[in-house]
């Protein structure tokens, strides 16, 4: 039996009359607040406040553990102990595992803190446990809270119009925010986008403009005053290059349909499971790369590869990007460990604007090895395309930031 369009609706009506009972619905305060958070006029100020809370809690919590306890534990106890008990001071293995140190008047000098030692067991462990772990835990905790309360779908609706300008839609906020914790789950989450075009744009923007928790943690630690400017440049770049990619890349960018749930009281067990799973995932997938990255950076420094490349590329860094020649080394090392590169940059003497440029360059540089592997999993064509966009972006945006600085007279 084939029903016409009208007959089908009549049948639906009949079934609903038999099965659904209708009652009067009284609007509650929760409903009214839910509506306020979706309407742009009130929703945007609320979103700005939620993001403020997010970053403020992030900074306080991460600072509490990192500056309050871990810096001291690693610098005053762990590093001196390892420097003393690890055999073969100054040997190749010692420099890779414990302390690359420095040479002063022909003598090997030990580092005074874990950010400068560049050993797998010192810098590697400090970054992984002392900096990244508190940052990742509080990041995923607040994210899980916002998800469970029911705020994230509202944020997706609110930002939908803006993201359509760059070929994405509201759901793209999920991989974007996830990437602020770790780019690896962020890249995996691009699968929620429907078309190849959207997934490519999202993956490319994540790899270039979204700093991960490790990098944000280090930035918060070593250049806290410049965080706002750095993030501002990254957000602007995210939208400029997203807009360009949307115009250049062929394909569809469909609308999205989302069911906005009512606000609910978050369940502790749910939050525990989400945070536990994500932190565990980070440790299993990304952490080995943090340690491996430290080891490779150490080896490359020992063999003089980074110095050689730094000297070779220094004219480009100085002339095109307007940063001091000394930053060439850390910027090359950023291919492997962005967080350590930021730490290295923080001890180089330069102007505020040069520091902002250098840290933005580190951020928009090559994605970390773990993200690289994840992007490869999504398809080698996409990876090559993303890398091509990345190279162009680094030169274009890095040069543009330098130009802005020159025009403002601060570069």
């Amino acid at each position: 039996m084939k029903l016409s369009h009208e007959e089908r609706w009549d049948l639906i009506d009949m079934i609903s009359r038999e099965t659904v009972s209708f009652g009067a619905y009284r609007h509650t305060l929760k409903d009214a607040i839910g509506e306020l958070t979706i309407k742009p006029l009130t929703g945007i100020p609320i979103a700005i406040a939620v993001m403020y809370g997010f970053w403020s809690v992030f900074g306080s919590f991460a600072g509490f553990f990192t500056d309050g306890f871990f810096v001291r534990f690693f610098d005053a106890y762990w590093l001196p102990w390892l420097q003393e008990v690890f055999p073969g001071q100054g040997s190749f293995l010692y420099t890779i595992m414990v302390d690359a140190g420095g040479i002063e008047s022909g003598e090997f000098v030990l580092s005074s803190n874990c950010l400068e030692s560049f050993g797998v067991l010192t810098s590697g462990l400090f970054v992984a446990i002392g900096v990244v772990l508190p940052a990742i835990i509080i990041f995923y905790l607040t994210l899980a809270l916002l998800e469970d309360i029911g705020y994230m779908p509202r944020l997706a609706v609110l930002i939908d119009t803006m993201l359509h300008k760059i070929g994405l839609h509201g759901y793209a906020i999920v991989p974007t925010i996830l990437s602020l914790g770790c780019n690896v789950p962020g890249v995996a989450a691009t699968r929620i986008l429907e078309t190849k075009k959207q997934r490519f744009i999202m993956m490319t923007l994540l790899a270039i403009f979204i700093p991960c928790g490790a990098q944000i943690g280090i930035m918060q630690d070593v250049v806290p005053d410049l965080m706002g400017w750095i993030l501002l440049y990254l957000i602007i770049g995210y939208f400029i290059f997203g807009y360009i990619l949307n115009k250049v890349i062929p394909g569809r960018a469909p609308e999205f349909l989302i069911d906005v749930p009512p606000y609910r009281r978050p369940m502790l067990s749910n939050i525990g499971k989400k945070v536990g799973g994500r932190v565990r995932g980070f440790f299993v997938v990304a952490l080995p790369f943090v340690m491996l990255g430290c080891a490779i950076v150490g080896v490359l420094y020992q063999f003089g590869v980074i110095r050689f490349l730094g000297d070779l590329l220094a004219p480009i860094f100085v002339g095109w990007f307007g940063v001091p020649a000394e930053t060439a080394g850390p910027l090359i090392a950023a291919f492997l460990r962005k967080d350590l590169a930021v730490a290295q940059l923080s001890v180089i003497e330069m102007t505020k604007y040069q520091m902002i440029t250098a840290v933005v360059l580190v951020s928009i540089y090559f994605p970390c090895v773990a993200t690289f592997a994840m992007m490869l999993k999504e398809g080698w064509k996409e990876l090559i395309g993303a890398l091509a966009v990345l190279v162009v972006t680094v030169f274009a945006y890095g040069g543009l930031i330098h130009l802005i600085g020159k025009l403002l007279g601060v570069a």
Partner: protein, 173 residues
């Protein structure tokens, strides 16, 4: 289109809960909050420091700039919500104004708590702050949002009043 029907009917609650006192109270709170937000923004823009008694206006880009903007929004939400506050949507604006203040003040208080516990010493020594140091961390001056926090909590009384009014209304209907 034939057969399309809504599954629920929306109705605006208008249980009478907002007295003239409440309207005046939240209007004044709104004006004060707007003033606090503007002061935050101006002090941040000028790069100067401003402290008076137990009040200290933050002048950094994050707390003074971003936070000041949110205080301004909170004040505007209060002011736009006080007219016809019996309407649930208008009352929601007043509630949201308070929630924004709670976010700013809550973050400030959380920051004080996290700063008050460790000793922040990089050398060997006590890991935790001394008791006087711990207590001192909570001493004034305070940011405008923290000072406005107790006044913003009054909204909870009106929320509970409205909730009890709705329960009575619900029971009687």
């Amino acid at each position: 289109m034939a057969g399309q029907s809504t599954s629920q009917t929306s109705q605006t609650s208008s249980s009478s809960s907002a007295s003239p006192v409440a309207v005046i109270y939240f209007a004044i709170l709104g004006i004060v909050t707007v003033a606090a937000g503007l002061t935050d923004l101006l002090v941040t823009a000028s790069g100067s420091e401003f402290a008076y008694g137990i009040l200290e206006v933050p002048n950094d880009l994050f707390r003074g700039g971003w936070g000041g903007l949110i205080m301004l929004f909170a004040g505007l939400l209060y002011l736009s919500g006080v007219r016809n506050m019996d309407d649930i949507h208008q009352f929601a604006k007043v509630t949201m104004g308070s929630i924004l203040i709670w976010i700013i003040a809550g973050c400030d208080i959380f920051a004080r708590i996290t700063e008050s516990i460790p000793s922040y010493s990089e050398e060997t020594g006590p890991w935790f702050n001394t008791l006087p140091g711990f207590i001192e961390a909570y001493a004034p001056p305070y940011a405008p949002a923290v000072l406005l926090l107790p006044f913003s909590l009054v909204v909870l009384y009106y929320i509970s009043k409205r909730a009890s009014g709705e329960t009575r209304g619900g029971n009687s209907s």
